[in-house]
Amino acid sequence: MTTYAMPDEKGHFGIYGGRFVPETLMQAVLELGQAYDDAKNDESFQADLTYLLKEYVGRETPLYFAENLTKHANGAKIYLKREDLNHTGAHKINNTVGQALLAVRMGKKKIVAETGAGQHGVATATVCALLNLECVIFMGEEDIKRQQLNVFRMELLGAKVVSVTSGSRTLKDACNEALRYWVSNVTDTHYILGSVMGPHPFPMMVRDFQSVIGKETKQQYNEKFGKNPEAIIACIGGGSNSMGMFYPFVEDSEVKLIGVEAAGHGIDTEQHAASLTKGKPGVLHGALMYLLQDDAGQIQEAHSISAGLDYPGVGPEHSYLKDIGRVQYESITDSEALDALKLLCRLEGIIPALESAHAVAYALKHAQTMSQNESIVVCLSGRGDKDVQTIQANMKEALE
């Protein structure tokens, strides 16, 4: 691939993306686009961001050679980009730090956000505490049950967590409510969207903030080996850790990029979250993208054991990268992810997030198809502390 310059001025990635929002939000979305363009080219903004990423978030994160896992897989070398070691335990904070700084720059005093697993909610509540911003988080009732610990964390950090009881009571519905809240409070509130979704400029801006993952990886790997890794693998919910990981490599056609969706109980069942594998293009939450939907265009409920992947859509840029064939999209079931999670615990002493375990699971399969001289980098997007209850419940169920 030669040069890659997406999105266009109106936020389109091919046919995908755009700004499909109610007119009440258009002014805010246009202003945000302008403010982000200004900030991107402003050295002092970039310096503030770099400072916080280093001193507060704890970047850079290690690129760790998982030797035991590699031996076990008996194929390509497996490296882990340790986003789980960030402050708050996942990649989500790379984005929230950037957006919160932007909100301050725009003079907004209040923040609204949606959350699925609670990782984005915690990362948002954290930066709001740091920068003295009022914070409201919408979270599906179902996810609140699955992620009690994160709900408490957000509250401890001073955020107000609002339980969403509409629809499937998960991430999709939390997005609806956050958007409704934003429509009603748009003059003084910034919406910190948690993934590469929503109306332009969000997919581009979140990708840019998350690209620190891929940039560091590229530099770390090249410093050691003087070249790029052969393959990169990341899990896909909305698509932010993967987009941040892939973007700096998109033009490097020798690097195979693989995104891993949640297959839930299996992609041939009704219970999965594999929007790219099984969905069709459509419009939701401000963008045209691949969606799980019925023939009449009603959005279907997604399923995954991991709350962070439980979303029926996927960012517009991934939709585009699928269509042009630059990224390969695969899927991993709940039970495969759980097995990979346990393996990583035992072999490396790392408890990954269930989301990230999907990427690890696919890497184990893929490594076997590659030679021992080749390398895979897996984006270990988060740590699994938040998931131990789910995992425990699941193991008990399996025993019964």
């Binding site: 700004r19 009440t24 002014q27 805010a28 429509v183 939701l284």
Partner: protein, 260 residues
Amino acid sequence: MNRIEKAFHSLKEKNGKAFVPYLMAGDGGLDQLLEQLIFLESCGATAIEIGIPFSDPVADGPAIQEAGIRSLQLGTTLKGVLSAIQTIRPIVSTPLILMTYMNPIYAYGIGSFIHDAVKAGIDGCIIPDLPIEEEELIASHLQDANIELIRLVTLTSPIERIEEIAKKGRGFLYAVTVTGITGARTEFNTSVAEYLKNIKSVSPIPVLAGFGISTPEQVVELGSYCDGVVVGSKIVQFFHEKKLNEIEHLIAASKTADVS
């Protein structure tokens, strides 16, 4: 001339104010639609908005959300609504406007949707998640089919933008009267009068106020600043509670509105 244009034409001759009720198609069963339309027509509706239920209606408050869920549970689809309208169209002469989010249209296929909408005798379309930035997806196709794309302006749209939207406007301009989602409000911001008058001064087409209007007094007051009103959540609620006389009252209020 499109039926919407005609309706506003004759309203102007009578110096009257418009009243456009919104109902949720399929709430209570799609077999109710004919009766509901005939009833609204007999009350003197200028045009009728027919809402298509959607799983994720981000511009709507609880009343319309719940009506949408009830309707979806009964299996309502855009296709089903269009074919129902096609059958009853010869009996109803009031302009009919579809209010639908973009995705049901996108899933239908834009070409097939317009084909079937023409066959059904649809006069206009309101798509709340389609700002002018994205309308090229469908606007010219609708225009070719003589279906008016009704645009919205809001309290957060700067006046230059309102002017731009008004110039593109077809049928009437839908002026959203709250910074928020649909649903009854007890009062409106004092700047709404100013806002509506400003829109009137730049719009070449009629301006209707909508979102939050729920009492006969509000129908009269907000109607006095522009060419009439759209009432949604309250009509949906009254249909659901079978309080048809309340609907009659609301529409009757528009007939007494101060003619400026």
